[in-house]
């Protein structure tokens, strides 16, 4: 470990801890999986992923988590090129209090702004997430639900 990295880590501890807590609040055990799965190839990216999006941004006051997840589900549906992350955030939205009906309405709203194909692919993502969520509820298992790289 270089000096640069050492100082990054020592000064970043609070952000990292805050970010990890926030990631777990939104994505549950998936947060731990994220760090572990990137460890083989991009361990520093795992740390930055915890620190900046979750430690710096999601942790900010000024906008509630529910609204943040509405924003993210909308943006990822509209962009249409990040299906794994869209699925994780549909689940994240459910986790912080957005209802399934609301998720579908957010995606339908995107038909107006990004076109019907984007919305239809968003509906497909939602169907997969809802089905996995039903299955998990039936099993009463709290197993990690997110593939590691999908957890942003």
């Amino acid at each position: 470990m270089t000096n640069t990295q050492a100082s990054q880590t020592s000064h970043g501890n609070l952000r990292y801890e805050r970010g990890l807590a926030k990631l777990q609040e939104i994505d549950g055990e998936g947060g731990v999986k994220v760090v572990e799965s990137l460890a083989d190839i991009a361990p520093d990216f795992a740390r930055l992923l915890i620190e900046f999006p979750f430690g710096d941004v999601y942790s900010r006051p000024g906008l509630d988590l529910r609204s943040r997840e509405i924003a993210v589900v909308a943006a990822l549906t509209a962009m249409g090129n990040a299906a794994p992350q869209l699925k994780v955030h549909i689940q994240g939205a459910l986790n912080v209090g957005v209802t399934r009906t609301e998720v579908i309405e957010i995606i339908m709203q995107m038909a107006v702004y990004a076109g019907f194909p984007a919305a239809l692919n968003g509906i497909s993502a939602a169907r997969e997430v809802f089905a996995a969520d039903d299955k998990k509820s039936a099993q009463s298992l709290a197993e990690p639900r997110a593939l590691a790289e999908e957890a942003i």
Copy 2:
């Protein structure tokens, strides 16, 4: 007017009226401007614009207007290729109860999902809208604020 268009209009009346009312609720006098400005070149598109996005989608139950505008501001910031419409919807978000602080937070959140340039351009759009809004408040004028084709 062809027969086809006549039947579209007669069956579309309720959607049109509902859409126009919803557009005015979100964008104020800008709604009237929209119809007028497209009249020269694409009058049918003006009608479709009222009927589908506003009459069919925004009017739906299942998601409050505030959440719909959060979704739209997020998506247009992330897509980064629709600055005129982003400005209209930042104002629309303010109109339906999103605060300026929340608008800025939504845009900052997009730095994570669509990159810093998208967020910086969103901040520029917000600055313009906030300044225009301040000026309008100072004048106590209720003048139409949106350029016609920006009102979607």
Copy 3:
């Protein structure tokens, strides 16, 4: 059903019927599949999908179906983030009289405007559609060919 939805439906009948007919003209039995497949999770979106794109837009005079499909194949190839819908519209283009050679030329033209990767992925989509079309012809089957959410 709420009053709002009831009035939407009664006033939307003509658009729905016209849209369903147009969808079948372009996509054959896939039209029925669309409505059925969205029924579990987003039934209203199935209706809007029939009514707006097919009932309102594709049904318009002013541009022939062949030209509309050329436009859609080009756009979806260039956007590069809607592979399922691109495949459906390559088949739709064939259905309304665009030749295979012309489909390939449209996609190659996109190399100039959206880059070679977009065109190469478009070629892959065309290969799949042509192969499925050959197989279907060999079987003389008129089975529904489109997955539900792909039919826009």
Copy 4:
């Protein structure tokens, strides 16, 4: 001039001449302007622009020019990030026989596939092109109409 460039030029003559003729057929005097305007900073790119898009692709048999321009107007409207080129190709479409009504229909069709903001910005581009075209007709001038770097 290096040997490499010399051989490129001698072998590329036919493509260059064919491309220049095709560019002029679509964009009129704008073709000459293109070559001239890129001369200061990227002269080789001017040559490649003539040779590949116009000499290699537009010149191909298998798809008529009208269909090629429909495809390009659709794609550039949908992509939403190339307004200068969209304007040139709206004029190009008119030059090869697409009517104004058809241009508007192509753009409206994109509302379905790329969202209303993309279509509204396309309508704005069309309004500018139609107005410039009217002005030019009134003047009976055959002046070059395209800014140089917009001519692709």
Copy 5:
């Protein structure tokens, strides 16, 4: 200032200082302008902009600055929706040792991957930056060259 923000600041100091130095190395006096210009509307975003992109990412070992700027000029040219930031990074690339010829080659390379319109718009951006750079050299002035929100 809330407690949360206070702790962010105290723990972020090193990242902020390192980021500001790196921003100045790439963009010169523009770095200071960035912080100042965002102060009115999004002061925390100014801080995050210094800390994460410049303090966390650009400061990393493992890839030289020249290569990082090549990557950024390529990406912003290809994305095509962030012209202000592209201009800043074309200048940034020149600042860290990329030649004008190389900038043009990077942009021409993007014609292959993102299409000719993206490359042509990139050439226009480069022309503006080179002209501003020539003017500045002629004046022997070291004035801040970047508009604040363009400096990412």
Copy 6:
């Protein structure tokens, strides 16, 4: 073969040969596979793919291959809609001297400019390429590694 095509071929020979050599330098045996795989459906596109990107652009002086591949990996990661081509170019980057560490840094840099989802999907692509590369090294096999349409 038409006269037009014949003249294209005879005048394009040098570009084709130069392009094929350049493609092999970057992608190894994959180059041959490209031509073969497009033969069924778009043989002319195979030729254009060799001639323009590789014969015209990659072969240019003014920017070294390493820098070209850095630019392409960055752009394809940022665009996020061309995963097959991104994988081929991550391998191509390794082939022309970019290290694995540098590939990861380029992709991490894109988190700043195109968002974390784009970077995470880029990391996934890199993981696949590195694993395939390890396997190949272990086997000491020089087998063609690229699927045909991915080789641009």
